[in-house]
């Protein structure tokens, strides 16, 4: 884990490209993810982060390139297929039903049933145990998630994904629109998962500082390519910001030159 190993990686992707008609979203992506590793995938808006996420979770196929899971070439046919292979994604706020309670959301479509009725007691107990285990503090698991803060909701979404024992967890902007205290809930949760070492995590983010805190390694995605691959302790938020700003300046200069 300390040294990125190309053999024994849980996930490796080679030469992934994605075009939408004439628009190229991803040019040539090569990356790898070690077992138990936390990888930060960062980049500015429009760099291709979400496209890559959609490909990795099986939502859409790449135009070309190959994905390897545990060294084996796979074609992800659908989100369900990806999930069955152990890849689970947590979207920003997508899969929470506001009207349902914490435990109902945690067991959504995996309900415990004593036919024909729901076994609410067992679900409440297990949800409580699971959240406690993961250090997620939720006062009342019977309250609708609409009443929780953004951080708590995100924590529940992550906890729910971990419930199904995925090999790879993709977190899409887990700190988006969150205050520092809120974000800390999620960072603590990720740190805890890292210590357990069972699941490998890719965090997609554009907030460099906070991401560096929990990641073992960061990949910077620029213009549809991975332009930087460094261990977190070898880089800094300043360096990453500078790289993104430099790219912006270069583009600006080119545009000015073209119009002049």
């Amino acid at each position: 884990m300390t040294e990125p190993m190309h053999t024994g990686d849980v996930l490796r992707i080679e030469h992934i490209a994605k075009n939408y008609g004439a628009v190229t979203a991803l040019t040539d992506i090569n990356m790898h993810l070690g077992k138990g590793e936390v990888l930060g995938l960062i980049g500015d808006n429009g760099a291709g982060k979400s496209t890559l996420l959609k490909i990795l979770c099986g939502f859409q196929p790449p135009s070309s390139g190959q994905i390897y899971l545990d060294g084996e070439a796979v074609t992800l046919k659908s989100v369900d297929h990806a999930r069955s292979l152990g890849i689970d994604a947590v979207y920003q706020d997508l899969a929470m039903v506001n009207q349902l309670t914490v435990y109902q959301n945690m067991f959504l479509n995996r309900e415990k049933v004593r036919w024909p009725l729901l076994n609410n007691r067992a679900m409440r107990r297990e949800a409580r145990e699971h959240l406690d285990e993961m250090g997620v503090r939720i006062q009342d698991i019977n309250s609708p998630v609409a009443k929780l803060s953004g951080g708590q909701r995100q924590a529940i979404a992550v906890a729910r994904s971990v419930f199904s024992n995925p090999k790879i967890l993709l977190l899409d902007e887990p700190l988006a629109a969150m205050g520092v205290k809120e974000g800390a809930i999620i960072l603590d949760l990720i740190t805890q998962l890292k210590h357990e070492g069972k699941v490998s995590i890719i965090i997609i983010a554009h907030n460099y500082g906070q991401v560096l805190e929990v990641c073992d390694r960061v990949n910077l995605i620029q213009d549809g390519r991975i332009s930087l691959d460094k261990r977190s302790d070898e880089t800094s938020a300043e360096e990453l910001t500078e790289l993104v700003v430099a790219e912006y300046r270069k583009a600006l200069q080119e545009r000015q030159r073209a119009s002049a």
């Binding site: 997508l94 899969a95 506001n98 349902l100 959504l108 479509n109 024909p116 009725l117 729901l118 609410n120």
Partner: protein
């Protein structure tokens, strides 16, 4: 806890009364419950004939069941984000369909009854198909299927009433046409079943989930289409059942017994009972109180001798009052609900 029980304990202590009211107000069904009880007491005080056994039977064994039974389906549909405008015309067509089968095609009575209920399954499936698979808004879908049913019924029956086929007549006692309260018993049992379905089963939970967050539910792997198809079918079958029950109750097959009115009553009962028009929330119990309120209004004003023509306006006022109270209480609940 140590306070003496009885009315003094409540009236003598503002806080306990306040907390009781506060507790009540936090329930989604609170507003409609209070208004339903108030309407009952009001009519009773205005004219004691309102609580005569005959009138009570009209209110609770005739008017109420027809509203609540259909509302059970509409509550589920509204919660999962759809609506069925066609159900009233299923009420009208189902008994005619049974009559054609029994009298013209000599289908045995029980089978003809079953086929009339199956008609509901088919209409519900078509509503589901056009809404979920073809992706029309259910408002349009069910308006279309409803008009088709109405036109077919009027054309085939020549808009003439028919008598109850002899081969099915004696099943009436089983279908709500028996003793004075047999239709009410159907309503109570079905209400209990649907309450449990909504609150205690996966089906109910997924119905809320689909209406609350469609994309999220799909993401979680819930079979969204199946939930919607199913709830359309529930609603239409309940409509067909009410059609047959109405036939037994009035002992005739009346081309006017369907129309849009049963549907409007059912949707109104659901909505003033706290079911969200936009999906994601609602209760069967709320719809029951809503239906009781509508039944009280309908029977109460005719007992008072108020013109049926004015009744619509009065109904409208009550619906608006109930809705305003609902909205206010929802705000209260959200403020104090933590």
């Amino acid at each position: 806890m140590g306070r003496p029980p009885g009315p003094r304990a409540v009236t003598g202590n503002g806080r306990s009364l306040g907390s009781v009211l506060g507790q009540l107000a936090r329930q989604r069904e609170a507003a409609v419950f209070v208004i339903a009880v108030a309407s009952f007491v009001g009519f009773w005080l205005a004219n004691s004939a309102f609580v005569s056994t005959t009138t009570l039977a009209v209110t609770f064994n005739n008017t109420l069941p027809a509203i609540i039974i259909i509302a059970l389906g509409e509550v589920l549909l509204l919660i999962c984000g759809e609506i069925d405008l066609s159900v009233g015309w299923v009420v009208g067509f189902a008994p005619f369909f049974m009559h054609y089968l029994a009298d013209y095609y000599h289908v045995p009575g029980p089978l003809a009854i079953l086929c009339a209920l199956l008609l509901g399954v088919v209409v519900g499936w078509v509503n589901g198909f056009l809404t979920v698979t073809v992706r029309l808004p259910s408002f349009i879908t069910t308006l279309g299927t409803g008009f088709i049913l109405q036109g077919t019924m009027l054309y085939t029956s020549h808009a003439e009433p028919a008598s109850v086929p002899t081969s099915v007549a004696h099943y009436g006692s089983w279908l709500g046409g028996g003793n004075k309260y047999s239709w009410l018993i159907w309503a109570v049992v079905l209400t209990a079943i649907f309450h449990i379905l909504l609150t205690r089963t996966r089906w109910g939970l997924h119905t809320v989930s689909v209406g609350g967050n469609l994309l999220g539910s799909q993401e979680a792997g819930i079979k969204v289409a199946r939930i919607k198809y199913g709830n359309f079918m529930f609603t239409s079958v309940l409509g067909a059942l009410v059609g047959l029950q109405t036939m037994y109750y009035i002992n005739s097959i009346d081309p006017n017994s369907g129309s849009y009115i049963p549907m409007f009553n059912a949707v109104t009962a659901a909505v003033i009972g706290g079911t969200a028009m936009l999906g994601g929330a609602g209760t069967i119990i709320g719809a029951l109180f809503g239906a009781i309120l509508l039944a009280n209004l309908s029977v109460g004003f005719s007992v008072e001798g108020i013109s049926a023509n004015l009744l619509y306006a009065i109904n409208g006022v009550f619906i608006l009052v109930a809705m305003v109270a609902n909205v206010q209480l929802t705000r209260l609940r959200e403020r104090g609900g933590r």
